[in-house]
Amino acid sequence: MSRLIPTAEMTLGPFFPREFAQGANDLAQGASGEVIEITGRVTELDGKALDNVILEIWQADSAGRFDNPAFSGWGRAATDAQGNYRFRTIRPGAAPGRAPHVNFLILYSGLMRQLQTVMFFEDADDPVLKVVPQSARARLIAQRVNQTSYRFDIRLRGGEETPFFDD
């Protein structure tokens, strides 16, 4: 069968509508499991904070399932003028063969295509974490702020750069 070639991805641009950016960062509503908050700051070269970066997440439910009809698993947040984003969600369970994690997709002006990274809750034996250079692995592990809150900063470029995936 002939194969169509995927359309070229292009930058989101700086003017992604606010109404699209907002209203989808709470995945916890109506879901069962341990409610947690994930916050962080998105920066570019020289640590400059970025406004209106779009972050989308995809995660398993509390039992490690990706196909639970009662839990969407998908969310979207935008950074504010200080570069900060926030999700409210359920702590994901471990899917077979994986450590608990949250998949992140980043869209922004000046990013010619989407970037993908993964947030882990702790250093673990995980096939995706394992392919990241050892020296950078710690940057994929969220900081625990308190019992229910985690911090995951994303540095697009420069010192302490977040590792990103290409698939």
Binding site: T11, F66, D167
Partner: protein, 233 residues
């Protein structure tokens, strides 16, 4: 349905830092991207997003142009956008987000500081859902060109931003659609970041009819992923 995703082709996809677009060198990672093993996490994705994201600007057939004294300024166009996967199979029910500037090149966005007039009758954003054949229709006005406020900026050709999900997490597609015959297409740093001429051509809509009250443009979006056949890895 099991979905197979193949690596991006560097000829048909942008590679990151572009000399003609200064911001890319501040934002694209300096370290090589890491190839990861794909499993259930990457090869599954949100289902029924239309339930989670409120549709705006119309369902299967959106309208941003309006009528009568609510009509937006600009040339009327109808965009017919079909969403398919790499097998050519349509994606009915997939959510499509569309946004573009007004005929003067101004976005309804607080971050747009370009000195161009706002059109009170134009709100340039719609969230739509594809019909049975993967088709989304939008009646709107043709967007204008505008200068990029970046160091060493340039005029962007008229374009429409498109965002669609596809079947799995890795099939997410955010792109732009261009109009045929625009001289600014030749110099656009974003369109021309795609090295393959055929791939650039596929980002330009086709004028299907100009014998109607609206210019009809047809366009195709192909999201990543094809059916994994038994026995293939």
């Amino acid at each position: 349905m099991a979905i197979r995703i193949e690596p991006r082709d560097p000829l048909t996809q942008a590679q990151g830092v572009e000399a003609g677009y200064a911001q890319t060198a501040r934002r694209w990672p300096s370290q090589p991207l890491v190839r990861r093993p794909l499993g259930a996490a990457e090869l599954s994705g949100p289902q029924h997003l239309a339930r989670r994201l409120p549709l705006a600007g119309g369902g299967k057939a959106g309208d941003l142009a309006g009528y009568g004294d609510k009509r937006a300024i600009g040339q009327l166009v109808r965009l017919r956008i079909r969403v398919l996967d790499e097998d050519g199979a349509p994606l009915p029910g997939t959510v499509l987000e569309v946004w573009h500037c007004n005929a003067a090149g101004k976005y309804i966005h607080p971050n747009d500081t370009h000195d161009a007039p706002v059109d009170p009758n134009f709100y340039g954003a719609a969230r739509l859902v594809a019909g049975d054949t993967g088709l989304v229709e939008l009646r709107t006005i043709k967007p204008g060109a505008y200068p990029v406020p970046d160091t060493g900026g340039w005029w962007r050709p008229p374009h429409v931003h498109l965002s669609v999900w596809g079947r799995v997490w890795l099939s997410r597609l955010v792109t732009q659609m261009f109009f045929p015959g625009e001289p600014l297409n030749e110099a656009d740093a974003i369109l021309n970041a795609i090295r393959d001429p055929g791939a650039r051509e596929r980002c330009i809509a086709c004028l299907a009819s100009s014998k109607t009250s609206e210019m009809i443009f047809e366009h195709q979006l192909v999201v990543r992923g094809r059916k994994a056949s038994a026995g293939t890895p």
